[in-house]
């Protein structure tokens, strides 16, 4: 009986470690991919001539899947508290995405400003709506 409990505990610890590692891999690969994608967008060849971005994309997707597979089911959902740091990150990501979109559609003319600004605003407001949902 005691042995069963100990092995269950060990298994839980291992799962927890794997889960944390996989989440970290996911975060690192996702942010790296976004960053490299942004750079490649503005300076073609800077990344793609040296490194295949698809490798990073595959790591992101696989690690993302693994975070779900190794999710610790016994942990209850807790309320997401979006910190100031997270807001800043969201804000920066929103700016980056808006710039990428503008760069891709600028040939359509002044409308590209409007579209990219709207999308940027939506992304900036996203964490605010998320925390509002949570509080509701």
């Amino acid at each position: 009986m005691k042995n069963n409990t100990a092995s269950i505990q060990a298994r839980k610890r291992l799962l927890f470690i794997i889960h944390e590692i996989v989440i970290e891999i996911f975060k690192a690969s996702f942010i790296s991919y976004l960053l490299f994608y942004l750079v490649e967008n503005f300076k073609v060849g800077l990344i793609s001539n040296i490194f295949n971005l698809n490798i990073l994309l595959i790591i992101t997707c696989v690690s993302g899947l693994l975070t779900i597979i190794f999710r610790d089911e016994t942990v209850a959902y807790k309320k997401i508290n979006i910190s100031l740091g997270s807001y800043i990150i969201f804000f920066l990501i929103a700016i980056a995405v808006a710039l990428i979109i503008y760069n891709k559609i600028k040939m359509i003319g002044p409308m590209s400003y409007f579209i990219s600004i709207i999308i940027g605003i939506i992304l900036i407001l996203f964490p605010i709506t998320l925390s509002n949902d949570q509080s509701n």
Partner: protein
């Protein structure tokens, strides 16, 4: 403990993208100053594009041997284009080509595309069967790709004599061997009816004695035929040879012009300056000759008619007989860049180069359009010819440039076999005399093609304002004509029997051989190493020129191309300088 393990793994995980970023930054900024690119023909490359795109089919093969993975691409067409994407411009590139040359392609050149879409060439490798298979009595001195072969006539005489003796002795030995073996066969013929083991082994041992004796004798006479001393040349260094040139009828040159060391036969320096006061217009190419202790001295009087939009700098490049650029001078535009027709005062530009070796020099006057008039050329050279085209313009059409100048007909001399003549203005419509024929230029912008008899032809133009182009040279006086292709020595390509000569001097780049593959190298530096921008990427466009392909049905097997780009490495000082200049540029903008 668990937390510590997690922190450890998290650090490693986050270090990986940081390492990747550092790697990408080093690949982009290349702080070491050295970027190496390796292209294998069987693999796709991210940075080498459009390799051999002119080939109708991309044929990749290997030697027909088990396990051989030396892939090559069959090349049947020239040139072989390829583009190389680089992260930033480099000042120097060393290109290596690994290949096989089964059909003895004599010449491979490396070319780099220039801003005007022309290519600047550098030799990579030569292959001449005569030079590759010279008999052993030719000694060889090699200094920086310049090779001097010298025939040792005494060695040759002795060798021929010994070869003759050897041949006679070998003949006699072969006859003796034949006779001995025949006698042996006769001796044992009658005894073969009795199939006896002892008799058979006795025959073999006697035969072996004969063959052993034969081989020993052969070794002896072969040793006697060898000349014990080494092949000797008259000169121990190439500079000795150049300083004390022997009888030139015994000298052959390949890709090396000795005319820099000897004056053109019959050449006399001019005692007073020559003035060509016939105005000409636009780009021209002038050939001239410099004798011993003579400077290259040209004074151009120019004026801009400003009939076209854009700047009109006066750009003159000077090349020597080896096609190496020795001077590049640009005089700026007169300040008027619009097509206003406004004419500013004329300007004089002197091109003076001293301490030049003797030889033929080429002045390329490279202008953006026909706005610039060269109203007068004053020179101390007495041999001046124009290649490919000449555009005399003493015509009322250009009264704003020519002013009160008395406009007289022009006589031009040419050795072209075929010429084209046209005018761009109504005032240029006229009847010319070309040799003994009359040629009526009755339409504007419509060229007339005329075939000429071999030799010198005069072109008489009463009204000028005609563009004459041809496959030869043009001059304003027959005395100014000369043969720019004169060689003081015989060219290897025209030699029937190399044994009639005693010396061969060659600028002979040869490829290095390694494991069945040849490696040819060439280096190109700025300003010839030019980079273009395409789709936001920096690119250098190269070609391998294989003269004669595909007409002569030769082919080349290319295995790989390696390019080493070099620039000064990044130091703290250079980095700070760049940051300073970047900031000051931003402020100035």
């Amino acid at each position: 403990m668990r937390i510590k393990i997690l922190i450890f793994f998290k650090i490693i995980i986050w270090c990986l993208p940081v390492i990747l970023i550092i790697y990408i930054l080093t690949q982009y900024f290349v702080p070491s100053g050295l970027l190496e690119i390796h292209y294998h023909v069987e693999k796709e490359s991210k940075v080498v594009k459009n390799f051999a795109q002119k080939e109708s089919d991309r044929i990749i093969g290997t030697e027909n041997k088990s396990g051989n993975k030396d892939y090559f691409q069959l090349i049947t067409t020239s040139p072989v284009y390829f583009n190389v994407i680089v992260p930033r411009p480099f000042s120097k590139a060393e290109v290596s080509l690994v290949y096989q040359n089964p059909d003895n392609q004599p010449k491979i050149q490396l070319g780099v595309k220039q801003p005007n879409s022309a290519y600047s060439y550098v030799d990579m490798a030569f292959w001449q069967p005569i030079l590759e298979n010279l008999p052993e009595y030719w000694s060889k001195i090699e200094e920086n790709n310049i090779i001097l072969w010298q025939k040792d006539n005494e060695y040759k005489t002795e060798k021929l004599s010994r070869d003759l003796i050897f041949s006679q002795k070998k003949n006699e030995l072969d006859i003796w061997k034949e006779e001995e073996l025949n006698s042996l066969d006769e001796k044992y013929k009658s005894n073969r009816i009795i199939q006896n083991q002892n008799i058979s082994s006795s025959y073999d041992s006697e035969k072996q004695v004969i063959l052993t004796k034969y081989n020993n004798e052969l070794k002896t006479i072969t040793g006697e035929a060898k000349i014990q001393r080494e092949v000797k040349g008259q000169f121990s260094h190439i500079q000795d040879f150049l300083d004390h040139l022997p009888e030139l009828t015994g000298v052959v040159q390949y890709n090396y012009n000795l005319s820099a060391f000897l004056e053109m036969p019959g050449y006399k320096k001019s005692t007073k300056p020559i003035i060509i006061d016939k105005s000409i217009r636009g780009s021209h190419e002038i050939y001239t000759y410099i004798g011993k202790d003579e400077d290259l001295n040209f004074i151009f009087t120019i004026q801009d008619i400003n009939r076209h939009v854009g700047e009109d700098p006066f750009h003159v490049q000077v090349f020597n007989s080896s096609n190496k650029k020795i001077s590049d001078v640009i005089a700026p535009d007169d300040g008027e860049t619009e097509a206003t027709g406004k004419v500013y005062p004329q300007r004089r530009h002197q091109l003076l180069l001293d301490n030049l070796p003797m030889g033929v020099y080429r002045l390329v006057i490279d202008l953006t359009d026909d706005d610039v008039f060269i109203k007068q050329i004053e020179t101390t050279q007495n041999l001046i010819m124009f290649k490919k085209n000449i555009y005399p313009t003493d015509n009322p059409e250009y009264s704003e440039i020519l002013g009160e100048k008395q406009l007289t007909p022009t006589t031009i001399y040419t050795n072209s076999n075929k010429i084209k003549i046209k005018t761009s203005h109504e005032k240029g419509i006229q009847t010319l005399r070309v040799g003994s024929e009359k040629v009526f230029i009755d339409q504007v912008h419509v060229p007339q093609e005329i075939n000429l008899s071999p030799g010198m032809t005069t072109i008489y133009s009463p009204r000028n304002d005609i563009i004459i182009s041809g496959d030869g040279y043009f001059a304003f006086s027959p005395d100014q004509f000369f043969n720019p292709d004169f060689f003081v020595t015989e060219d290897l390509m025209k030699v029937n029997d190399i044994d009639n000569f005693n010396f061969i001097i060659a600028d002979y780049l040869h490829a290095q051989s390694n494991d069945g593959w040849l490696t040819a190298k060439a280096t190109i530096e700025v300003p010839d190493l030019y980079y273009s921008q395409k789709n936001g990427q920096t690119m250098a466009s190269f070609i391998f020129s294989l003269p004669g392909l595909p007409e002569n049905n030769r082919m080349l097997k290319i295995k790989e191309v390696d390019i080493r780009f070099q620039k000064p490495p990044v130091t703290i000082n250079s980095f700070l300088q760049k940051v300073k200049s970047y900031i000051s540029n931003m402020i100035n903008k």
